[in-house]
């Protein structure tokens, strides 16, 4: 089996400015008074992780432990301070559905806009348009500006666009918590369809049930370090025991 994601020795350092210096005046004053110091914060510390192609991999941990930072590094949004990430294949990020929607535009226009944000071509979206709309079940609202949509409706459109393609790697960050239970089931079904088609899925969730249901392997992250990697059952049980 080949590896979809190889992370070796990745650390991510943030400058945690106590006050955000974002004007030249402040910058110069701080520079000349030698107060331009930042508190450094290691969001991730020497992470080594390999995710095999076709695997469903879960990330668990408490709030602020670095899960989302790790996902952002995998999807190329952050460049790690040290270490290297090697990703094989195309990535469809689901990090917060509907990033890139312009709420003044209609759902139809947003499907094209958001599709192009994910790098799809016009012909591709033309072909898949009906499929996307069918998945959202929002046929009668398709020409309504999205600012009139509820958050659940926005999530439907976002999910439908992101999963219409068959990406090699799908990144899912806490998104399955939106929408009604029917839609959640539908999303899970779509994800398992993708999984059986060989897509690698990386899931972050606070719902241990969901992780247990979907994942093959799980990494438990604590304070920017990997505390444990292993079989889902084993890691989840230990995680729930220690956290309580």
């Amino acid at each position: 089996m080949s590896n979809a994601v190889e992370i070796s020795g990745v650390s991510m350092r943030f400058n945690m400015a106590k006050e955000k210096v974002d004007s030249i005046k402040e910058y110069l004053i701080k520079f000349f008074t030698h107060k331009l110091f930042f508190d450094e914060f290691m969001a991730l510390n020497d992470i080594n992780l390999t995710i095999e192609a076709g695997e469903v991999f879960g990330l668990i941990g408490l709030n602020g432990c670095g899960k989302s930072t790790l996902l952002k590094i995998i999807s190329g949004i952050y460049k790690p301070s040290t270490g290297s990430v090697k990703v094989t294949g195309t990535i469809a990020p689901l990090i917060e559905l509907g990033a890139g929607f312009d709420m003044d535009l209609t759902a139809r226009e947003n499907i094209y806009l958001n599709g192009s944000v994910l790098g799809y071509s016009k012909e591709y979206i033309d072909n898949k348009f009906d499929e996307i709309v069918d998945f959202t079940e929002l046929h009668q609202f398709i020409d309504v500006p999205m600012k009139n949509f509820s958050s659940g409706m926005v999530a439907r459109v976002g999910f439908a666009i992101a999963t219409v393609t068959k990406p090699d790697i799908l990144i899912v960050d806490e998104i399955l918590s939106v929408g009604d239970f029917l839609f959640q089931e539908k999303c899970e079904k779509r994800i398992s369809d993708l999984m059986s088609g060989g897509t690698t899925v990386i899931i972050v969730s606070h719902s241990i049930d969901q992780i247990k249901r979907l994942c093959d392997r799980v990494a438990w992250i604590e304070k920017g370090k990997i505390k444990m990697i292993g079989e889902t059952e084993e890691v989840c049980n230990l995680y729930t025991q220690t956290s309580n």
Binding site: F14, N15, D22, S23, I24, K25, Y27, K72, S75, G76, I77, Y78, K79, I91, P93, I95, E96, A99, G100, D102, D104, L105, E109, Y112, L113, S116, V117, L118, G119, Y120, S121, K122
Partner: protein, 257 residues
């Protein structure tokens, strides 16, 4: 090569963003895109009325003289000032999806370019009314505006990158733009200022683009090789500096948003 492939992949996004800007700009306006033609015309009417009474410059075809200068100035000023905020205001997107970040300033420049094309219709209308001879030299009008576009892209890359780190550039730039307008012979003839000031004014790239445009459209002459080389030098050095600055800083953007 790799960069080129990424660009092709996001070409459709670029078109879509321009499309969105056009839609959002003219939403709920009855005349819609026609405003891009009307606006420079009305502006010209105001300026021409005011200035032909206050200052007694002897400029032939003052309406057209002003308009040709103003469309170039307006283009550069719109392109750079909207680009400036483009990266910063796309924070929501940049933090969540990987997109080549130069797409944003590039898109704003191209959007301003589309607007410029519409204001050229206004120039053509005024040419017809004021009875200026249409000659073949006028067909060279794309040359100066493409020089100006390249220059604007370079400048926008620099400004949009700096704005992420120093938000107050936005305020300074507004003042700078006004100064830049008065430093360029748009509402007055070059001869109105002393020779010494003229030498300084010749360091201003905008002067060359404006003059080029007027030469081909208004005066039916074609600028020589030297003039073209000066324009090329300004445009491409700005573009190269822009690309270098942007490339050096782009990985840090997301940390300052």
């Amino acid at each position: 090569m790799k960069y080129f492939q990424t660009f092709l992949r996001y070409k459709y996004l670029l078109l879509n963003l321009i499309n969105r800007d056009i839609k959002v700009k003219y939403r709920r306006s009855v005349l819609g895109i026609l405003w891009s033609v009307l606006n420079p015309l009305l502006m010209m009417a105001v300026i021409a009325t005011v200035f032909s009474h206050i200052f007694k410059f002897q400029i032939e075809n003052f309406h057209l003289y002003y308009l040709t200068g103003a469309v170039i100035y307006n283009f550069i000023s719109e392109a750079t000032s909207t680009s400036m905020m483009s990266v910063f205001s796309s924070a929501a997107l940049i933090k969540k999806v990987y997109i080549p970040k130069y797409i944003f300033p590039l898109e704003k420049c191209l959007f301003a370019f589309v607007n410029l094309l519409f204001s050229l219709v206004a120039v053509a209308i005024v040419m017809l009314i004021s009875g200026v001879r249409f000659t073949f030299t006028a067909l060279l009008f794309p040359v100066p505006i493409i020089y100006a576009l390249i220059f604007s892209i370079g400048m926008s890359l620099i400004l949009s990158a700096l704005t992420v780190f120093f938000r107050d550039i936005v305020h300074i730039y507004g003042v700078f733009l006004t100064a830049w307008m008065y430093a360029t012979p748009i509402i007055y003839p070059m001869e109105a200022v002393s020779e010494r000031i003229q030498t300084v004014m010749k360091l201003n790239p905008m002067y060359y683009y404006v003059q080029y445009f007027r030469d081909v459209v208004l005066y039916n002459t074609v600028p020589g090789i030297r003039w073209n080389l000066i324009c090329l030098a300004f445009s491409f050095s700005m573009l190269i500096i822009g690309v270098l600055v942007f490339k050096a800083k782009q990985d840090k953007f997301v940390l300052y948003m």
